[in-house]
């Protein structure tokens, strides 16, 4: 389509490259940028390049950070004997948002996926084992996504972690809060029944 401007077309292309952004939304975003003032756009551009130039990975938990070790690893108020293993840095934020966890983290940067050529060497598995050996945490919580790759990775890690003397647990699968039994898929409902919690008696 002729946008009458090559630089506008390019910006639309860049927005459309982002995940979940289609051509129409990309166009709307590009026109929004066009209407924004110069300073706001310069700030946006700087935020983009800053993220790439300033962000590095924590030497302990492998989460994204601007200085290694990261603030979660150095926070003395956090519990040392629990390590929560997640797939991606964004999962750390999701767990933090619950306010239910006060231990440390370990970011794997993916899950095992042999078809995509992702084995243990591509993930931070070696680093996790070294850390557990060294720090001997009481519990390792596997907060991986409840899908095929997440399940396979969880079983793989469990086999390696249990011999090191720590408890390995996995976040519960079940009906989401506010969900409806009628519309739950059978696998989820089955898991919810298996993982039922005793209420007394």
């Amino acid at each position: 389509m002729d946008f009458g401007s090559e630089s506008l077309s390019r910006l639309v292309d860049e927005f459309a490259r982002l995940p979940g952004i289609g051509r129409k939304t990309a166009r709307r975003l590009a026109f929004h940028v066009l209407r924004s003032d110069d300073e706001a756009v310069a700030r946006f551009a700087r935020a983009l390049t800053d993220v790439k130039s300033k962000i590095t990975f924590c030497g302990i938990c492998h989460n994204v950070t601007e200085s290694s070790p990261c603030s979660l690893c150095t926070d003395v108020r956090r519990i040392d004997d629990q390590v929560c293993v997640v797939e991606e840095p964004s999962d750390v934020l999701a767990v933090e948002a619950t306010g239910e966890y006060r231990g440390r983290y370990h970011v794997l940067h993916g899950v095992l996926s042999p078809l995509d050529g992702i084995g243990p060497e591509e993930l931070k598995v070696k680093e996790l084992l070294a850390r557990v050996r060294e720090q001997s945490p009481r519990e390792v919580i596997l907060a991986l996504n409840p899908d095929t790759e997440g399940d396979a990775t969880a079983f793989y890690l469990q086999k390696l972690l249990v011999p090191l003397g720590c408890t390995v647990s996995r976040i519960a699968r079940g009906i989401p809060v506010g969900g409806d039994l009628e519309f739950a898929d059978t696998a989820t409902l089955g898991r919810a029944i298996q993982g039922r919690e005793r209420m007394g008696g």
Copy 2:
């Protein structure tokens, strides 16, 4: 929320400022940027700043362009005696995408909205009247949004344009192609009946 990185938080904020992008999507986009290679991010940042530094407005139709007059105004294959009046530069793209129109354009940069302090002086109305007086097009097509402000602006322009000796028309309102009468609102269905097309007989 503690992102463990001030520059990452800032990028999330910038994405969340875009229209239609919530905090969760902004976070997903920021992590996507983090995973992209340096060159791709630099290209994105450059596209943002380029749009602001290179884009100007066409002296004739007031559409966005990198050189005035724009390619739509200088294209000799387009018909000179039709002018399509639209609200925003993005509407030019929407009309162009139909392939149904081969005339010229005029971008108002908004619609009349007294409550927001937008009167004729804030829009390219004076420029439209001067252009119609000078070029005497056969027809002015008002392709404004079919909402209250669009309607008011259309009636206002019609009053001013008709005395200048041109036909003033307005794009049809009716049931969208592929739409369903049952789910159409009464105003739209009413307009569709009023604007019915004779099929013969």
